[in-house]
Symmetry: C3
């Protein structure tokens, strides 16, 4: 699948933009911006690789990840107004990155002979780990944990891959379907402001 | 020891309750609550397994951990008033979890041929890692670092296991004694509000 | 190089002092102070070792790290006024630790056959990881990300090692030069208050 690395790097680029944008808002210096770009783009995959024993992690060894993340960081740093104008495309890139990282992470876990549940866990972790690292590094509660239908979309995409694997369907179409499921769910969540319930909101509903 | 997995899962359940309770208080959504349940219940063991090379970590491969943590999360989310009424039993479960994770973590490190000091370090890390991950994920200073005789109790339990190992005493009774030492210390600390000194409190004492 | 372990432990000591000082300021209890000492002194090296597969990490197995970090923690806890008087020497120790950890981390990565870019990344991570862990544990944005010419100095030292390796120059003089480059840059940054630009400052400059 010759187009896969391209989308993978597009996802890396999108996640790096999100990291750099957060860093610029928190007034980190240039190096801090680059660190957050790289962390947001690669922490999920690095953690997955450590947990399955794929050492050293691909994101550290394949320097295209560093190059793409650095590019996104520098672009955001010197052109933050441009990036803010791009917000909508960024959200789409981000949804694409989420989708691809979720299915690719799940597939990698299956390739390491992990069971289906673990593979889904690791797929979701690959997809959301970068956002968690980004927010922990600026001492904020990870956005992934409190808002919108984000990790749930990743889980749906990962589940498609695992189910397809269980039914022995060829990997490529399954990954495409899984990524599409994740992408469409995430797109709808942004478009229609889907949210998961919180315990408080739930109580208010009951009180009404 | 057929009762050990039961207590192990009881500890997992108790730590998951603590994670879910923190998540509900911080108004995370349902997924965030489940993530914090799982993180609080397993981060200590996962970190230990990564550090000793037990890859992939047991908590990711054995799906009972996920099931028990999810159960605790859902229970807390939909019945947070019930869980708050249960506070005392939760503290006892938590003390049991701390005790078991401390001795089990130490024993696992010894089984991987690590030296006694390292084994104690890893036992304590297994026992307190979950609480640290839980608090870092909601951008708070880990409770473990600032209050009560908590990690010290874990260290005492871990030390018993290491000393018993050095004296070549059979593992089972040593682990039971280690867990009891930790549990009793922790119970007394809750009951009588034991605390370790802080540098400030110490200065105030001197000033008095 | 019989002097290397001595400087390595001096660096560990300096980083542990910085961790303990932060912990005392945040009023952590004695155990919290010791955890922060150990985390600040070893998190960088432990993360590097996990990422390259050097398991279990040296800082957990060689108990001198624990002893030196504990010593620094106890000293800071019971004599925090003394340590504050020592601030200048501490900054010099810290710069020495940064320099040594940067070149030693890079050299270790090269010894594990990683490519030059990865080796520089891991050298920088070894040098700054402890400071990041220290600040994340007290829920602060890592100082390394927002201030002063710190990580950049580590990167310069790491680059010297990688370039020297590419030119097949003997390791010892290359590491000495790399450490000196890092140390001098860091010393000048403290002395003359060098900083990297932030996006905001940059805009203000343009506005002027």
């Amino acid at each position: 699948m010759s187009w896969l690395p391209i989308i993978d790097l597009a996802g890396t680029f999108a996640f790096a933009l999100s990291g750099a944008t957060v860093a610029v808002r928190r007034e980190l210096d240039l190096f801090g911006v680059l660190v957050l770009s790289f962390a947001a783009a690669t922490a999920g995959g690095i953690t997955r690789d450590v947990l399955i024993g794929a050492i050293p992690p691909a994101a550290l060894v394949d320097s295209r990840y560093l190059i793409v993340a650095t590019l996104a960081g520098v672009l955001t740093f010197y052109g933050s107004s441009l990036v803010e104008r791009l917000e909508n495309p960024v959200q789409l890139f981000d949804a694409a990155g989420l989708s691809l990282f979720a299915v690719a992470g799940t597939a990698k876990a299956l390739a390491f002979d992990l069971n289906p549940t673990t593979a889904v866990l690791l797929g979701v972790l690959s997809a959301i780990g970068g956002g968690i690292a980004r927010d922990v590094l600026v001492a904020e509660v990870p956005a992934v944990l409190r808002a919108e239908f984000y990790a749930s979309a990743a889980m749906a995409g990962a589940a498609v891959v695992v189910i397809g694997d269980g039914l022995s369907i060829a990997r490529t179409p399954v990954m495409i379907v899984g990524a599409l499921v994740c992408f469409v769910l995430r797109f709808m969540a942004i478009r229609y402001r889907w949210r998961l319930p919180t315990a408080r909101r739930q109580k208010q509903d009951r009180a009404t």
